[in-house]
């Protein structure tokens, strides 16, 4: 229980500046990027040091008060949704770059440092930080670590987990541990590999050592238009079949192309689908493979091919892609983003089902996705002002997830399970699978204090029989069906 005594102890740790208890100020933290889930924390703290984090967590542990870490609050699965009876630990003031070690291609930062800031700091030396979520200007490294965030260039270079070498973290009992380090292969169990992607449920990360990459010699980017998403999908398959792993292959459909055009005018052709393909590496390799990519596009009847001639043109193409989510705001009052993954060879089949669902439900569904690794981002458009549409949108989004699971895919490729999809977990994993994951959780957090009710389904969250579906009027009316 959080009482005034508890609050004054918090205040002693983080100072008056670092404690938020005012009801209206707490509103700021009510939700993360998943606006449909809201909850006000009992208190929020903004620690400045790892010691303060440790003291806050220890206090919570002693009083059995739940706590939730929050980075920049851009998460799309409700991972940073506050606990109504708990403390929100906001990491934004821990934003120092602690050590830049170019000879070892390492950088050590506090978790509140923004993703893009890492690259910015090492650009003068010719290095960059590879994972590049579209939100890289506004999301924190701590959030990236928690979500194992991806980005367009993860096809070739891997996800956050492949670039985090070590963390300092406060465990739910208040003890501090160092997992991994500047050197690879620290002896011991690979707990680093589990903490990355654990959505803030195992520990609060207070320091992160990242691997830096050398800027490639050459980069070439191509944009190609297609008369159908099938044709674009076939081009993707042909690229992979040719044994080429591009730095990125992204696809957008007509809805998201138009939205991006309306928002940032990247000069995309008005097509059923566009592909963005980027190659990087040694100049000679890029030149050779680029010709093969052009040939693949031609074979699949691509048109309106644009090849970026310089960084400015490349920047414009990527701006169009990265703005796609936000741009949907221009064509729809509200939208719901999904993050399901499918084996990339099933792309045409799954897209056809999504099209059929779009017609049946009457809701517009935009598609923008990491085509190279089969990570879909269907954007289900709705209007909150229209009675029942929000629920219908959630229903439609759920159905898309079922399509993904039908073909052996996953509920989420990069946004995480959070509170949004915890109740869907039993559709992907058996009770035994979930019970085994729970073993990890209880080893770290036996008292269920650290971001509880996220990631794994709980009876409190999902009811006795875990499962997200309630019969919806639209379903009864035959507009949407369960699979």
């Amino acid at each position: 229980m959080i009482d005034s005594d508890f609050l004054s102890q918090l205040e002693r740790i983080v100072g008056t500046e670092g404690l938020v208890r005012d009801e209206s100020e707490l509103l700021t933290y009510e939700s993360d990027g998943l606006m449909s889930h809201r909850s006000r924390p009992a208190a929020a703290v903004l620690p400045e040091t790892a010691e303060q984090v440790q003291a806050v967590v220890s206090l919570c542990h002693r009083h059995k008060v739940p706590f939730v870490a929050r980075g920049q609050g851009t998460g799309l699965s409700g991972g940073a949704l506050p606990h109504p009876d708990g403390v929100l630990v906001v990491m934004t003031r821990m934003n120092r770059v602690l050590d830049i070690d170019i000879p070892n291609q390492r950088i050590t930062v506090e978790p509140g440092v923004m993703n893009l800031e890492v690259t910015r700091r090492v650009t003068p030396d010719g290095y960059y930080y590879a994972p590049d979520p579209s939100s890289q200007v506004i999301c924190s490294i701590g959030g990236n670590v928690a979500e194992n965030s991806g980005g367009a260039h993860c096809l070739k270079y891997g996800f956050t987990v492949h670039h985090v070498l070590g963390v300092e973290a406060v465990l739910p009992d208040g003890s501090m541990v160092h997992l991994g380090g500047a050197a690879l292969d620290s002896p011991g169990l690979d707990l680093l590999g589990v903490v990355v992607g654990s959505e803030g449920t195992l520990a609060v990360v207070t320091k992160v050592t990242l691997r830096l990459m050398r800027r490639p010699q050459a980069v070439r980017t191509l944009l190609a238009a297609f008369d159908s998403t099938d044709a674009a999908g076939n081009a993707v398959s042909d690229v992979i079949a040719a044994g080429i792993i591009p730095a990125a292959i992204e696809m957008m459909d007509r809805t998201t192309i138009r939205a991006a055009e309306a928002a940032v005018q990247p000069g995309f052709p008005d097509a059923e689908a566009v592909l963005i393909v980027e190659l990087d590496g040694p100049q000679s390799e890029v030149d050779t493979l680029f010709r093969q990519i052009e040939a693949v596009c031609e074979r699949n009847q691509a048109w309106g091919v644009q090849v970026a001639q310089d960084d400015a043109q490349r920047g414009r193409i990527w701006m169009g892609r990265k703005a796609a989510f936000a741009a949907m705001g221009r064509v729809s009052p509200n939208y719901y983003v999904q993050d399901g993954v499918i084996p990339r060879s099933t792309l045409p089949e799954v897209l056809r089902r999504i099209r059929a669902l779009e017609q049946r439900s009457g809701l517009t569904i935009g598609n923008v996705f990491h085509a190279g690794d089969g990570n879909l981002h269907p954007l289900v458009c709705y209007d909150d002002a229209v009675e029942g549409q929000a629920e219908l949108a959630e229903q439609v989004a759920s159905e898309i997830l079922s399509y993904c699971l039908d073909v052996g895919g996953s509920l989420t490729g990069e946004h995480g399970i959070g509170s949004d999809k915890a109740c869907h977990m039993p559709k992907m994993f058996s009770d035994d699978d979930l019970a085994t994951m729970q073993l990890v959780r209880v080893a770290f957090d036996p008292h269920e204090l650290c971001n509880p009710d996220k990631l794994l389904p709980t009876p409190r969250l999902c009811g006795e029989v875990p499962g997200p579906y309630r019969a919806h009027p639209a379903e009864v009316a035959g507009l949407a069906t369960r699979v």
Partner: protein
């Protein structure tokens, strides 16, 4: 503990499994000189689970073996009730070539797996020692890799899904068959490198790589070990993209491999030659048989079948590879040991073979361990006699993460059934 004679246990287990899957252990089954009471070679996941459940319920210990190539790694076991051999759980279950993924049973050897994947010019991009005998389960359990880790990563970087059998016999899945997936805790990664102490790998799913068209290797002879660091730095600085960047000593030499389309591999190799010459070294480009030869010779320097001796894994940060190599040389000379080093110059992961008196090897390990601050490097014993392992310990300092690692082990295996004492956290 099992009290009755082994044949009672044998009958009991075979009855439970409904088939004569278990047999009595023999001298040839010994692990670090310890002969297991029973050996089980299941052919189905159900029998893996059944064996584990039986062992846990009756308080018996189980050691898991794949191809046996690394069974001597890890601390010397106490008495072994059951040796669980995964050898017969073999075969590629699915090769989804359009998706660049494959699922394989744990007892499949790496070579057998890659032979299947080769039909579509793909492979599991791992090249650890003993590919003809090492199984996927063993490679995953030890997170073992080889020179191409430089570009492709280690098993922990390539594994995307797993079916595992828990100590209590329950089967669990993690991850899936898609290359991008953040649903749930990554148990596959947790089990990778856990030395069979948390669960038994039944099958694993990996992301694959296309086979390159062509390969070239630059063999570099360096003036001295201190030349290694600057050469690697120079390669990095010009954004060269080798798939392997290997160091060997003594005498100090390097192998740098480029794999791409032919003209590109050739051109990159020539650039690497020029760079070596600028640094005062000598270099030649190898292709075809010469290239294969050079790599075979390199691989067998530390891991060759004829090599006995202690194998250590010494890890440092990349920029300290040269100085670490110098320290290794000095420590070997001080302790009158013969030694050979190979390893990933760009990653800081070295394999070291040392031969000599036990106390001298122990002193060598201690001298090098003392040099590393936590998180900055480590000296782990891979293969060694029981005596050395008991003198200096296999892992060296694990750091402040040890209590939580022990707690994870305790939750997964509360009765201490699985590879007891052999994993890094018990």
């Amino acid at each position: 503990m099992a009290t009755g004679p082994s044949d009672v246990a044998l009958t009991d287990l075979n009855t439970r499994l409904g088939a004569p899957v278990a047999r009595a252990g023999a001298g040839s089954d010994a692990v670090d000189g310890v002969v297991p009471r029973l050996v089980v070679e299941p052919q189905t996941p159900a029998n893996v689970g059944g064996t584990l459940a039986w062992a846990t319920e009756s308080g018996r210990t189980v050691i898991v073996r794949g191809g046996g190539t690394k069974i001597g790694w890890g601390p010397t076991p106490g008495p072994i009730d059951v040796l669980l051999s995964m050898r017969r759980m073999s075969g590629v279950e699915a090769h989804r070539h359009g998706d660049l993924t494959a699922t394989v049973q744990a007892g499949t050897t790496l070579s057998a797996m890659n032979a299947v994947l080769a039909e579509h010019r793909q492979w599991l991009a791992l090249d650890p020692p003993d590919p003809d005998t090492a199984t996927i389960g063993g490679i995953v359990a030890t997170n073992d890799s080889g020179p191409r880790r430089h570009w492709h990563g280690a098993p922990r970087d390539l594994i995307i899904g797993m079916t595992l059998a828990r100590a209590d016999g329950v089967m669990a899945h993690s991850g899936g068959i898609v290359v991008k997936n953040v649903a749930g805790y990554d148990l596959a990664r947790l089990l990778t490198g856990s030395f069979g102490s948390l669960g038994v790998v039944v099958n694993a799913t990996f992301k694959l790589a296309p086979r390159a068209d062509a390969s070239r290797t630059v063999a570099v002879t360096l003036a001295g070990p201190e030349q290694c660091g600057p050469y690697v730095a120079a390669l990095v600085a010009q954004a060269s993209m080798p798939t392997a960047l290997e160091l060997a000593a003594p005498p100090p030499a390097m192998l740098v491999r480029f794999e791409s389309v032919e003209t590109v591999a050739e051109q990159q190799a020539l650039q690497a030659v020029t760079l070596a010459e600028q640094q005062g070294g000598r270099a030649v480009v190898l292709a075809g048989d010469d290239e294969s030869h050079a790599w075979r010779a390199h691989d067998t320097r530390v891991f060759g079948t004829g090599q006995d001796g202690t194998i250590l894994k010494i890890v440092t940060v990349p920029n300290e590879v040269s100085s670490t190599l110098t320290r290794i040389t000095e420590a070997a000379q001080t302790n009158h040991l013969d030694y050979a080093v190979t390893g990933r110059a760009g990653l800081g992961v070295l394999n070291v073979l040392v031969q000599g008196a036990t106390e001298a090897r122990a002193s060598f390990v201690t001298m090098l361990r003392d040099r590393f601050l936590p998180g900055q490097g480590s000296v782990v014993i891979r293969r060694a006699d029981a005596e050395l392992k008991s003198l200096v310990g296999v892992w060296g300092p694990i750091g402040d993460g040890l209590p939580i690692m022990r707690e994870v082990k305790r939750r997964f295996d509360p009765t201490g059934t699985l590879n007891p004492g052999r994993g890094p956290a018990g």
